[in-house]
Symmetry: C2
């Protein structure tokens, strides 16, 4: 077996049984691995109408055929389940070292079924796989649980776990591996918590074979060289991490301020960007398995009221707690972000949910007595205190733990949740950057920037520059990015490799690893197949239509490069459906489904 290692673990948490079964190689060829193959297994086995936090939901960990190989930045794995935040297919990707370790232990993936009645963790030491008691781990933070498991199992084990918020059903709790890398969005941590599965601890001593070792070496050397030579993948990201984007996006007039209420230019942007982080709080850069970019930041706030240390924040988290909450105190943002990692929460959703609460509070829609204090934009202590309240499941934190949509709905203003399909959109304003609006609206997991990152051409000029203010041509560009991203997430490599690599380099690595002679186009088609399968699941699950919050469609930007603009989503959407071969309500046609070879 090449690329894939050939075995899937099937773990029944109720019956406490563990089975090893051969990888379905036909499906692996059609759906690649990671996100695609995880979704295929999921769709074949689970009713789309399943209640996400019920035992009938399954939780799938899946690596890709390049995970753990020498391909550029190939440390990724995917977690798949029906997402409690959105009700869509939930698929969240994470880096670090956990994915490669799972493959070295001999497993492409793990399918968790049913729920345990008391806390457990899964122990994997090559061939030895056990469901172990985790009563002592329950309630522990990510750092605590990881340290305890490394003490119990050994320092060489890689740990993926949930924090207390996953145990408490927080709808945006994530699954955190290697202490700081997260399968963060959609609330998959709550699915894991509902199964009483606290963690996985994995050690593997095997390896991953490739089909054509010499050609594979040529392909990865070429890819790595191109990535290093690229100004973004080789310089910008390594220098300042993803947070280098704050000033760039702000200058484009696309950095949303105060729950997107006050336009998209934040005067204090410089204070919260990657350059300031490097100057004030950076300890060192850090990379995931096999990655030359090393975009992660080890950071420390050495003193003051927000004294703390950890990793991050990424750009989207810095925006969510910063510009979106009207906060320019970087120390507070760092601390709030560290707390998210500790308690196992998605900072994009939580920061945005706090921003939404700030707007509702300022307009008088949330009684002060519900929050306990007068909540306003720009309050650094509030973002830290409310993050802690969600982490500890206390007071108003219990309401924030439902995400901004359910919060805003409770207080009579669902339209003030800046979300799509109940998941919060991140840090790029769709009024200033038209293509990203189409991406948010059509994303298969709700508001999200990594399902077709057209910011790359629209703002960064990678692989070529297009005008962010025009709608023409964006539908076709987005479709390409969505299909390519589905492929990348399924291969087990990092999306950031696209800051240097294109389809030819990515397809080459895949071909030589598994021994395929498929063309670039045939390989890209797998991405399109995956995208359509996800869409099909969402339709069967009854997910709402593709659209954007009304604010983006009708409240004009008051200043900046895109002054006076709204999102012209509907100028792009019909064309997008047409290019996808879907009907005019966005449903894949039977012809399209058949052409892609999807068996429903």
């Amino acid at each position: 077996m090449n690329g894939w290692v050939g075995t899937i673990l099937r773990v029944d948490l109720a019956a406490k049984t563990i089975k090893k079964e051969p990888l379905n190689l036909k499906d692996a060829r059609d759906y690649v691995g990671g996100r695609g193959l995880g979704t295929k297994y999921f769709c074949d086995e689970v009713d789309p109408k399943v209640e996400p936090l019920s035992p009938e939901n399954k939780l799938i960990f899946m690596s890709g055929p390049l995970t753990g190989t020498g391909a550029a930045s190939a440390g990724r794995y995917e977690v798949v389940a029906k997402a409690p935040l959105t009700g869509t297919i939930g698929a969240a990707n994470s880096g670090g070292y956990f994915g490669p370790e799972l493959k070295y232990a001999g497993y492409d993936g793990i399918i968790f079924e049913n729920s345990s009645d008391s806390p457990v963790y899964l122990y994997i030491n090559d061939d030895i796989v056990e469901i172990r008691d985790a009563n002592n781990l329950w309630g522990k933070t990510v750092n605590e649980a990881t340290d305890m498991l490394n003490g119990e199992c050994g320092e060489s084990f890689k740990v993926s776990c949930i924090g207390p918020t996953g145990e408490n059903g927080c709808l945006f709790s994530g699954i955190i591996n290697d202490k700081h890398r997260a399968a963060g969005r959609g609330g998959l941590g709550a699915v894991m918590g509902s199964k009483k599965l606290k963690a996985l601890a994995v050690r593997g001593t095997g390896s991953v074979n490739v089909a054509r070792p010499e050609k594979f070496m040529d392909a990865i050397v070429d890819a790595r060289a191109k990535l290093k030579a690229h100004p973004v993948g080789g310089a910008g990201l390594p220098a300042y991490g993803s947070n280098v984007l704050v000033n760039i996006i702000n200058e484009s007039g696309g950095l949303p301020v105060s729950n997107w209420r006050d336009g998209a230019y934040f005067p204090d942007a410089a204070a919260i960007g990657g350059e300031s982080l490097a100057e004030k709080y950076l300890v060192k850069n850090k990379g995931c398995f096999g990655c030359s970019i090393s975009c992660a930041r080890v950071t420390r706030v050495p003193d003051g009221p927000f004294k703390s240390s950890g990793e991050g924040p990424e750009y989207e988290a810095a925006w969510a707690y910063g510009a979106d909450c009207g906060v320019s105190d970087l120390a507070a943002i760092c601390k709030a972000n560290f707390l998210c990692n500790e308690y196992g929460m998605d900072p994009i959703t939580l920061g945005s949910t706090i921003a939404c609460a700030m707007e509702l509070s300022e307009m008088g829609a949330i009684p002060e007595s519900d929050i306990g204090f007068k909540l306003k934009f720009g309050d650094p202590q509030a973002i830290v205190d409310l993050t802690e309240a969600v982490g500890k499941n206390e007071g108003f934190g219990k309401i924030l733990a439902l995400g901004s949509y359910r919060l805003a709905e409770k207080y009579g203003h669902p339209e003030l949740s800046m979300s799509v399909k109940k998941q919060e959109m991140p840090a790029y304003d769709a009024r200033a950057i038209q293509g990203i609006g189409l991406e948010y609206a059509t994303s298969n997991r709700g508001g999200c920037h990594v399902r077709g990152y057209v910011i790359s051409p629209e703002v960064l000029g990678v692989p070529f520059k297009v005008d962010p203010l025009v709608t023409e041509g964006k539908a076709g560009l987005l479709k390409l990015f969505q299909d390519l991203t589905a492929l990348i997430d399924s291969l087990g490599i990092c999306l950031f490799t696209t800051f240097g690599l294109g389809l030819p380099e990515i397809a080459s690595q895949y071909r030589e690893a598994i021994g395929s002679n498929e063309s670039d186009e045939e390989i890209l088609l797998k991405g399109e197949r995956i995208w359509n399968l996800e869409k099909h699941f969402n339709i069967a699950a009854g997910v709402e239509k593709d659209t954007l919050p009304p604010r983006l469609l009708r409240e004009k930007l008051p200043e900046g490069a895109a002054e006076g603009r709204v999102s012209e989503l509907y100028e792009m959407l019909s064309e997008y459906y047409e290019l996808r071969g879907w009907d005019n309500e966005g449903v894949p046609t039977p012809d399209k489904v058949e052409a892609l070879g999807i068996k429903l």
Copy 2:
């Protein structure tokens, strides 16, 4: 028995039994009659969580203690049920001659329980009450059914019935008596249809006693004289009907245009107003039982593509089909309104729902194939054709029949439904007239203008003029209007009497009719009690919070007297809750409930 006649009919449509039971006089004293007493019976007997179109919902017809007496404009009765459009308590008031006739037959009200399995009507000829077969009436329009019943029972019978839309479950179908008077809002016609009750035909030869005949005569003479002497109740309304308001409201900058998207000044207002109607299509004025105002209009479009005849349109219908749909062709508006009467539909909700569809269609959110043609604002043929489609339950009409909220939600934009609690707000822009916004938000049956018509002081200067653009003082004014209106709707007199009468005149008529020595304040307190009981029901039913569509809270008026303004709802809402003695989420406190003597 004075004022009330002392008997309630209880009709079980499944068991086909009819019982006569004594009026609960204690409740009648506390909750007056009509809206208040109907709601009291309903709340005591029906689970607030009941499915509105299930047999377990009850349908109550209730007159008031002044209905059928010589009090000014005392021809009103109320229908009460849980409303399918809103899920709130549904209470709709109607004039004409049906209510007095019911009392002359000897009944204060009728409680319909359960559902028949085939179409029936209720025959009342004084003491003779029968459930009769109505298979021949099913599918007939209001005019047809009324004529057939008058043929079958006799010309002196007064008929209240549903049109085909009530049979088909249209969520804004009404109950129409005397062919043109409607208990119109909230979809009570669908409740009647779900019970397979097509009509009531009533003849009564009795009378209504009053306690102190001479003093009662003094009171009604005084009231009638004041009403006739008033510039609005005695001149404006008689001259041009309610549609006199089009030009007045437009000049105040408060006439919403194109689903409230294009501000609140309609350049073509003159073409659709009461003056034009009088000039072009008026046949004669018409009044209800005992009314000196005679605001109804018999109208006829003599030729052209919209040739038709009937009654109306009222101001709110002329606005809904006119300015709100961007239509300035008065003939088309008349025809659409006639069709509403014929098919038994609320023209405020249907006109607004078509306007909402126009906006969704123009922005691309509704595929053209769903509608069958390119729907745009300003198309007179479209308002007629779509009204007919709903009436006949054909094509896109089946979707429009759900009202604008469910329409807009289906197409991904619930926020573009200009509704409160899923019922469409009528013809007064809350950005230009601040108090009416608070009224819409807090109305106990969703968006509605007749639950506290503060347009009266804010625009018309009755009984005194207040500035429509300020928020100060509006909470107290509204509370007074809401309580007074609840009293008026329960007495069986017309709300329009307030264009001339105040609490002293209204309370006098009540006191002398039933023989009471209660003070004006004690009588007004009954209105407050009714308001709180309704609110309690809605909370128990799980109705959403008091708020307004986002457009009113954030999209500024582009021109007119209120240029640049939004609704400042939240500046008024807390004060309103405080004045009501409710908590800060708008829930009546136990102390308040006890003080009002409400038994829950």
